[in-house]
């Protein structure tokens, strides 16, 4: 009875224990930091290639939400949002799925007082810690490439962390639905489609209306909007809607993921 009552409440300490386990597990691979670097360079390469390279072919400024923005400045915040997504998915999709279904790490974790929701929160926190490193470094690169001012970069930083948290929760929820490794093809496909069509490389207003509506339902679009508007210094009230979407997605996906972890491990 007593243990049930204790276990019924959410415990930050127990959640933190799971985060610590992840940090320990990371130390076993010697190339772990090289892999973190590898995750960072991809959006940076895209920024240099499409943003600056293709940007050099574009003489006019892009008109975005009534502001005239140079093409590199337009693409850079989108690459930051993308790297938030990539960072979040790097721990919450394949790696999480392996612990859930293959190595059965959570079966071991859940025989201790740790509860599924603490596991879900821990995985999001762990992802956010790594994502913070990615986004921070990427923002420094953006400042060095002169695509954002230092002041707006400081404000864009928490926005990018929010994006990491939201995508971590989305990644967890999606991974609990996967039946096997082959199902991840769908996730990779979706990730690439989001990357190419979230108003990332050209404004979403250019798309045909049905495509626009579809895009506005997806999370990366909101992350891109939020981060880009902050980066160009346009603090419109609509940003609250974009941020609200990401917060709501985080909450819903966390609850869903915790339930699914419960079902998978106990049933």
């Amino acid at each position: 009875m007593l243990t049930n009552a204790i276990a019924g409440r959410f415990s930050a300490t127990r959640s933190a224990a799971v985060v610590k386990r992840n940090a320990r597990a990371m130390q076993t691979g010697p190339s772990a930091w090289l892999l973190v670097l590898a995750g960072l360079v991809e959006p940076l390469f895209y920024l240099l290639s499409i943003g600056l390279g293709v940007g050099s072919l574009i003489s006019k400024d892009i008109v975005y939400r009534g502001h005239e923005v140079s093409y590199p400045d337009f693409v850079a915040p989108a690459m930051l949002a993308t790297s938030a997504m990539t960072a979040a998915f790097s721990t919450t999709t394949f790696a999480f799925f392996a612990k859930l279904r293959q190595s059965k790490v959570y079966e071991a974790v859940l025989v201790t007082p740790v509860r599924p929701r603490e596991v879900a929160v821990a995985e999001v926190v762990w992802s956010a810690i790594r994502g913070t490193v990615y986004c921070g470094l990427f923002l420094i690169a953006m400042v060095l490439l002169d695509t954002v001012s230092v002041g707006w970069a400081l404000l864009a930083f928490p926005a990018s962390v929010l994006a990491v948290v939201a995508f971590a929760a989305i990644g967890l929820a999606a991974s609990t639905l996967m039946r096997g490794w082959h199902d991840f093809d769908a996730l990779t496909t979706a990730q690439m489609a989001l990357f190419l069509f979230s108003g990332t490389f050209s404004p979403a207003e250019d798309y045909p209306v049905p495509a626009q509506i579809l895009v506005e339902l997806t999370p990366l679009y909101h992350a891109v909007e939020l981060i880009r508007r902050i980066c160009i210094g346009d603090l419109a009230p609509q940003l609250l809607w974009n941020a609200g979407y990401l917060v709501a997605a985080t909450g819903l996906c966390l609850v869903f993921a915790a339930r699914r972890i419960h079902t998978i491990v106990y049933d």
Binding site: E42, I50, G53, L57, I58, D206
Partner: protein, 252 residues
């Protein structure tokens, strides 16, 4: 009795028949998505490059990049698995399949994969109206040569390593940057000095120049024979490296 190398090809095709669904996206859908997002989407802002609409200019580049990526990516885990986990190559060693047959069989398999993707892409490019020259019929041959130049060295790499984590590094630090900076999305003349030479050194840039010439009817940056010769160099050197690496791996 079939040729041993054909038997090796047959084995890989048999496996592919069970796994083909996973490749549908990267072979057929991804290049099309890039064409729409960058070619059509960003193209609206770029206007013309070398006198062609950006969509037309970028289509041959995306095709060559797709070929390069398929050839390289197929030859990572595809080869590694048979050494490290399944032991396919070790088993072949016990038959009359020679090391050369193993490599020839694998390269033929890569060529089959690449050609499927090329034909599908050309059909889409034709629907988009981006084909401007009768030389387009040479594109599958150009792509086959590029694929050999990319697959050979990757096979050698896959036979050398003992931990599959290195593939992540290969993809991130070699394959993706090559794709992004070898004249696929913008002319290499926009690159700073030094980086431009890196682009010239990659097989992809030569494949891009040749396929762009064949699809648009323009002449490539260098004489055609030089581009072809350089790609042949990669293909032959890659094959030799693969043979050395296979021999060393199978001796242990």
């Amino acid at each position: 009795m079939v040729q041993p190398s054909v038997a090796v090809l047959e084995r890989h095709m048999l496996l592919y028949r069970r796994l083909w669904k996973a490749s549908v996206f990267s072979f057929f859908a991804l290049p099309y998505l890039f064409l729409v997002s960058i070619g059509a989407g960003v193209g609206g802002y770029v206007g013309e490059v070398d006198g062609f609409a950006y969509l037309d200019w970028i289509a041959p580049g995306i095709l060559a990049a797709t070929v390069y990526q398929i050839a390289a990516n197929e030859s990572t885990y595809g080869v590694y698995t048979d050494f490290e986990w399944v032991g396919g190559f070790h088993t072949m060693r016990g038959t009359r399949v020679s090391i050369r047959d193993m490599i020839a069989g694998w390269l033929m398999y890569v060529l089959v994969m690449v050609t499927m993707a090329v034909v599908a892409f050309l059909a889409i490019a034709w629907m988009f109206g981006t084909l401007h020259s009768p030389w387009v019929w040479t594109v599958p041959l150009i792509c086959a040569l590029l694929a050999l130049g990319a697959a050979g060295p990757t096979m050698a790499f896959a036979a050398c390593i003992r931990n599959d984590g290195y593939f992540e590094l290969l993809t991130r630090f070699v394959v993706i940057p090559t794709t992004l900076f070898a004249g696929v999305f913008f002319p290499v003349s926009e690159l700073p000095e030094g980086f431009r030479q890196l682009a010239y050194a990659s097989p992809l840039w030569h494949g891009v120049e040749l396929s762009r010439g064949a699809m648009l009817g323009t002449s490539p940056a260098w004489p055609v024979a030089w581009h072809i010769g350089y790609l042949l160099l990669w293909a032959v050197a890659g094959w030799i490296c693969a043979e050395v690496a296979f021999r060393r791996r199978l001796a242990s």
